[in-house]
Homo-oligomer: 354 residues x 3
């Protein structure tokens, strides 16, 4: 697949010489991301087989979300808080429904039944529920009572600090005090064919992440004109297309891991990435908006988006709580994602309203 | 109990000669359904002991819901989409709260603790959650944003197709790839006293279904004047009375199975029947309404009904997720059903509003 | 800690001679409750080691809630139904989020992983879900459809009777038919150093309860002027401060039990106390309000409070359903409680609106 790397210079050339041909730019950057995401996946698996699946999954999610954080900061500076909220919500939903769904489906089609540590998965799912509650409450207050923007702003800052502290607690739990719950059964030892240093894997991961971030930024810039040309609504693009592209790395790695029957790693990436966006990226952006943006961003997301996050978290807790998975569960998660995407497709604009 | 079959001709006679005596018609058709439902239950158990509890439960649910589908199509042709939605919602709620609750209570009073395959039950419960999400989203869009009827119509058709495909996937899972999860422990072998061919059991099932459908239709026709005479609201009748009568067959079989300590079969019937209504009957009616009715039916159910479905699914997932059941769980499900029925009884009319 | 008992006469003296010094009265009554709550905890543990953890937990919850019931009846007579509802909701939320969270955190910091009977915990969590549903439905009807006060009143009385019957069924389950699920592993035998009669433990429990009730009433009377002086809103005080103080006994005992690795007892107290408030105390108050109050109290709680109860019950079911606990789960429950408290703190007044 490495020959697709040729599309990196192609994308850069198009972006420079023919920026108005947005559909071409979009397609080229899409193709350029594929081999880079593949590299990230391989490097993550190497690290996971050395450092444990919990650490490996966390590293993959972190590198994957780093790109999103950078792009979101740029959008904040431009005052596009609505766009930032839509892409955060899309990323949370997409990682647990699309990425986890595809991983469970692909893994389940190859393996009759797959297993993972239920206690680790429940800890991650509870983090997601917590994050959903932290989004539901400010949204409900805003809808029900017309809370003042000032009160919402202060509340958002306070909740953001609580979420960041809880995420730090979760990291201490997953990496230090209870790392065994996320470790997998380490049958991985055998699959790591070539002995390779942790340092080299980290270097590859970093380089590929930079490449993905660069290509992603070009692609995100091209998405809106492309969508306009094809006739899609802005809300659909923000919540679904941007999120799908922005999570390409997690996507590729989670599916690879599931195919190799390493479900602990796969869940760490998919659920862990959603939890990271909700408990770390979003709160950091709320705090950062106090300094970098023209206007502060609060945590009161539009009601439609909060409802979807809550429902997605609900079915994820049900599907990933007992330590086993099969292809039907993957199909169920993908089905929910499809229903949500269809509702944005056919009823454009509305869910971004409060 | 077979002497109750005398009420079949009695019902037909009353319906023909004294159709205005609606209370008598109602009572006679009620009594006539009892022995037929008993036959369906026996035939289902025979089939289950031959073909496995998963197939047996599916057959029972399918034959039971066939009657409902026929009646609903007649209502659609008459343009009564509100009535159809109310009876669909009542059927979904009734099967998991009333039928499953009564089965768990009856089984738990005879057996101290009963067991079933938790993975199979979770797969069915997740199908229900998925269906609830597919109903919540269009309802929320309609309430929040005043979506156009045209947009809702297209969205409903698209979601209906997704749901039917997912139901087909579920059948492939339950009957082909993972049928062991639904099989029970096949201690049934001993209980099937008389060797009887699958063909004969299927014939009995078909004949009894036709009888139940016939009697049900007469009963449904008599319900409204009866309710009026007794002083009950239309919403209460649509959501509770019609659904209770329409699910008499599932009801009888699920309780019989629970009493014989065959909880896998009992859950397959109760949860499976709800899932079939939500993922197959309702979508088929949406698609059929494009051709047979005066107006298309969408999937945007009234908010009150959607809320009840969501809450019913929530507690079912909690109660039927760990592979064991006892009488308290049955009492809890019945308690929720009673609370819902009381709210319709004391606050008539309101929940049918959006 | 017994020297703190000196604050009982101090509180009484202040209350009599200087009732306007509300901050002093508040602080003194707070300190006076601590040793009494400690006594209740010790007596409960003694009873639990004799009678089983289920009975012990129930006794602790009952004596703890007796104080609340007495105070609430006084508020009802004064016509303060809003205050009663706020403190009931605060008590339900506080017992499962604050008390259970603190117990799981404290226990988890001392013990790497703690265990309890998952079937017993699930039965209690399902009771809570049932209670949440019984509160959601009348609230939804009132918000959505402007139900008449008369209809809501009748519905509330009917639901109250259903809830009391279900609570009686739960007691029969927990104490008679399935008491083994709540018994713990009875390693307690060893920890009961001194042989002491059940009678003496019951006498201590009763005496300490009376003392706590007396001090609580004085404290509740002092809370409002104190809050006013410090600048807190009435809603925040009603839902959080009153509930925290009113549940001091459960709080102390649940944490003690968790530290001694008796999680079955700890969960029985925390979840059991919430369930008792929702399924027994609240319905009894609804029925009592028909006789003692100037106006009847219905079960239609304000929407904001019902939402918080539902979300708290949701995460409790997820966190306490698999038979194990660790410190992160405690931190997660406390995090949710903190988010809810912050939202009341920054957006005062609003959640008490419908």
């Amino acid at each position: 697949m490495n020959w697709l790397l040729i599309f990196i210079p192609v994308t850069l050339g198009l972006e420079y010489f023919a920026p108005s041909r947005s559909i071409l730019v979009f397609a080229a950057s899409c193709l350029a991301i594929l081999p880079l995401a593949g590299w990230m996946g391989e490097a993550t698996e190497r690290l996971a087989s050395r450092l444990g699946e919990g650490v490996g999954g966390l590293l993959n999610a972190t590198f994957g979300n780093a790109a999103e954080l950078i792009i979101a900061l740029a959008a904040l500076r431009a005052g596009l808080t609505d766009v930032v909220k839509a892409s955060l919500a899309g990323s949370i939903i997409g990682n647990i429904l699309l990425v986890l769904g595809a991983a469970m489906l692909a893994g389940g089609l190859r393996h009759h039944e797959q297993h993972y540590n239920p206690a680790g998965a429940r800890a991650q799912a509870a983090m997601l529920t917590l994050a959903a509650i932290a989004l539901v409450i400010p949204a409900a207050f805003r809808i029900a009572s017309g809370a003042t923007a000032e009160g919402l702003g202060r509340l958002s800052v306070a909740i953001a600090i609580v979420l960041i502290l809880l995420y730090a607690a979760y990291l201490a739990f997953a990496l230090v005090t209870h790392s065994a719950l996320f470790a997998g059964e380490r049958e991985a030892e055998e699959t790591s064919e070539a002995p390779q240093s942790v340092g080299r894997a980290l270097a590859i991961l970093t380089a590929a992440t930079i490449g993905v971030a660069w290509m992603s930024e070009i692609m995100v810039g091209a998405i809106e004109p492309t969508a306009h040309a094809v006739g899609l609504s802005k809300a659909f693009v923000g919540v679904f297309l941007v999120a799908i592209v922005g999570n390409a790395a997690e996507h590729a790695t989670a599916i690879q891991a599931a195919l190799r029957n390493r479900m602990d790693l796969s869940l760490s990436i998919a659920i862990g990435s959603s939890a990271q966006v909700a408990l770390f990226v979003a709160p950091v952006l709320v705090l950062a908006s106090l300094f970098v943006g023209p206007a502060p961003m609060d945590l009161a997301f539009p009601g439609g988006l909060v409802l979807m996050i809550l429902l997605a978290v609900l079915i994820t807790g049900q599907v990933a709580g007992d330590g086993r998975s099969d292809w039907l569960r993957g199909a169920q998660l993908l089905g929910v994602y499809l229903v949500m995407a269809l509702s944005f497709f056919f009823l454009p604009g509305s869910p971004v309203a409060p």
